[in-house]
């Protein structure tokens, strides 16, 4: 870990982090407000049979309770996309992007080990993801305050939801950082990382909408975030174990791969 490199990374990304965090606070605030305003209409819509019942269970949530609505909001493509700005965008470019730009050469000419460089980037990704998930969680709390539904939300369990959501994106960040550490160019690192996320997302959505494909859901990392259970104070310990395992494996692999590989000359 290198303090100067961490400070450099923070200075480079702080404004982007602020913008993404503000957007996530806004999105989180909207979730309880939308449920408060349209919850009954959603209930009527699905009761009428206009939409298949599975559509109301997207991402393990539902439209009929505040915690269910929040759960849907946490895995909504907008929230996922905003979180991926750092979980994939930053993590995938941290090493491969610097290599492609030629700045990794300047960086690695300093007295910083490859492992130290990787761990610094990993720490930065950890902080960024923690902040963006905190923003989403804080937004959700604000929305519950605005609508007067803090007790119904189970606000005391928001830290569990934050941890569960953060671990999901830490896992994606760890995979993206591994791809970055193993690549010389940015496009493969981004491509592999995004493909991993998209396949994971597709399996979860497909499984939640089509009962015959439900067996695919355990192969998706999104399956291991259950916002509704977290807010009820009944998180699944196994979810945390699975996500932690993915993080540990990806970090360990990167710590082996990055120091051993050759760093190609800038192109």
């Amino acid at each position: 870990m290198n303090r100067a490199l961490l400070a450099h990374t923070w200075r480079a990304y702080r404004w982007r982090l602020l913008i993404v965090s503000v957007a996530l606070v806004g999105w989180g605030t909207v979730l309880p407000v939308v449920f408060d305003s349209f919850g009954n209409q959603f209930q009527g819509l699905f009761d009428s049979g206009a939409f298949p019942k599975q559509f109301s269970q997207f991402g393990g949530g539902d439209f009929f309770s505040l915690s269910g609505s929040v759960a849907i909001g946490f895995v909504h493509p907008l929230a996922v996309g905003l979180n991926l700005v750092f979980a994939v965008g930053y993590a995938a470019s941290a090493i491969a992007g610097e290599r492609q730009a030629g700045t990794l050469e300047v960086l690695l000419a300093r007295p910083i080990s490859r492992r130290g460089t990787y761990l610094t980037f990993a720490l930065a990704a950890t902080i960024f993801v923690a902040v963006t998930n905190a923003a989403l969680t804080i937004g959700t709390f604000l929305g519950a305050v605005i609508t007067g539904r803090t007790a119904e939300l189970g606000a005391g369990n928001l830290p569990i939801l934050w941890l569960n959501g953060s671990m999901l994106f830490w896992a994606f960040a760890a995979v993206a950082l591994l791809a970055s550490a193993a690549s010389d160019r940015l496009s493969p690192a981004i491509g592999i990382s995004l493909a991993f996320v998209l396949v994971s997302y597709f399996l979860e959505v497909l499984g939640s909408l089509w009962p015959d494909a439900a067996f695919l859901q355990p192969y998706s990392l999104f399956h291991y975030v259950d916002a509704k259970a977290d807010l009820a104070g009944l998180p699944h310990p196994g979810d945390f174990v699975v996500l932690a395992t993915v993080i540990i494996v990806a970090v360990t692999a990167a710590l082996v791969v990055f120091p051993r590989r050759d760093i190609a000359a800038p192109t």
């Binding site: 300047v106 080990s113 130290g116």
Partner: protein, 319 residues
């Protein structure tokens, strides 16, 4: 003491012949010298530098820099080394000043030479307050030089350092290198610009197709080069056949051309009394020495073809 010592250092990227980037490089760079590392693009210069700094892992041999092993002690080595990459890239959103501050922080040593470097290279405070993305090629190169030397490293590894600098700046930079040498700093100077290597370096290694083909003191290298001689004659040409150091004699239209190598005494004795109206001797240039190594053979020279190193040179040669 050898600041850089390589022993049979080699790098291969795959199994094919073309994948051999560097082969069996054995050199010693002494403390307090400016060591020229010469070769055309693709000869193995950058590969050598990248091996020394730990960017690449050697497939054969090994090396020490400042007494530390390049594999085991890479971090400790880089704490004492300044590096200017060829075609350097920066974080372009930063101002020059901020960039130099951050790079000094990352080096972990105070930028004690920054003020004198920016002064010599005419990087004004106003310039350094502008974002690097607005800099010209030459200004970027100046910032690159400053970042490599600002923390007063014991060894500076400079890859094509004068690229993009105008002649005045080049001269100022050469003078600064002379001062660094006088202060006991060691410079590893990679270049394909022969005139600057001849101007600033004490010794030079010439690499070709990943192999070392020469390692000598520059004066010794030049002394062994053939000089071109032209005589204008008002009468019969002097007999130069068999004169020591003289070769390629041609006579036509009242002129004599020949090539002269080594001691000029026998040549001067042979032309004494000849009806010479004018004489031109082109001094030996490093360029000729360099081209000689590159023009003689298409294939990389095998080990026996490596020119012998005079004892005074103190280095070793490996083919």
């Amino acid at each position: 003491m050898a600041v850089i010592e390589t022993r049979g250092l080699g790098k291969r990227y795959g199994r094919s012949v073309e994948s051999l980037a560097l082969s069996d490089l054995t050199i010693d760079v002494r403390e307090g010298e400016i060591f020229g590392f010469l070769g055309p693009n693709g000869a193995g210069k950058s590969t050598t530098i990248r091996l020394l700094l730990g960017f690449l892992h050697a497939t054969t041999g090994g090396a020490t820099v400042l007494g530390g092993d390049i594999e085991r002690d890479s971090v400790a080595i880089r704490r004492r080394v300044g590096y200017l990459p060829g075609g350097i890239a920066f974080w372009d959103g930063l101002t020059g000043e901020r960039l130099l501050d951050e790079l000094a922080d990352l080096s972990g040593r105070p930028p004690v030479r920054r003020a004198e470097l920016t002064d010599r290279l005419e990087l004004s405070a106003a310039t350094l307050r502008r974002p690097v993305r607005d800099y010209s090629r030459g200004m970027r190169q100046k910032v690159g030089i400053v970042q490599a030397l600002q923390h007063d490293p014991e060894l500076a590894i400079l890859d094509e350092p004068t690229e993009g600098l105008d002649p005045l700046m080049q001269r100022a930079f050469y003078e600064y290198l002379d001062e660094l040498r006088a202060a006991g700093r060691t410079i590893f100077f990679s270049s394909h610009i022969l005139s600057e290597v001849e101007r600033v370096c004490d010794r030079v290694a010439i690499v070709r197709a990943g192999r070392l083909v020469a390692l000598e003191e520059i004066p010794a290298l030049l002394a062994r080069r053939k000089r071109n001689v032209e005589l204008r004659l008002a009468g019969p040409a002097p007999a130069l056949a068999g004169v020591a150091g003289v070769s390629d004699v041609r006579v036509a239209d009242g002129r004599l051309w020949c090539r002269l190598e080594g001691d000029v005494g026998p040549f001067l004795a042979a032309i004494a009394g000849a009806p010479i109206t004018d004489m031109t001797i082109e001094p030996a240039r490093l360029e000729e020495a360099f081209l000689e190594f590159y023009e003689t053979e298409d294939e990389p020279p095998p080990p026996p073809a490596v020119p012998p190193v005079p004892a005074a040179a103190g280095g070793s040669v490996s083919g």
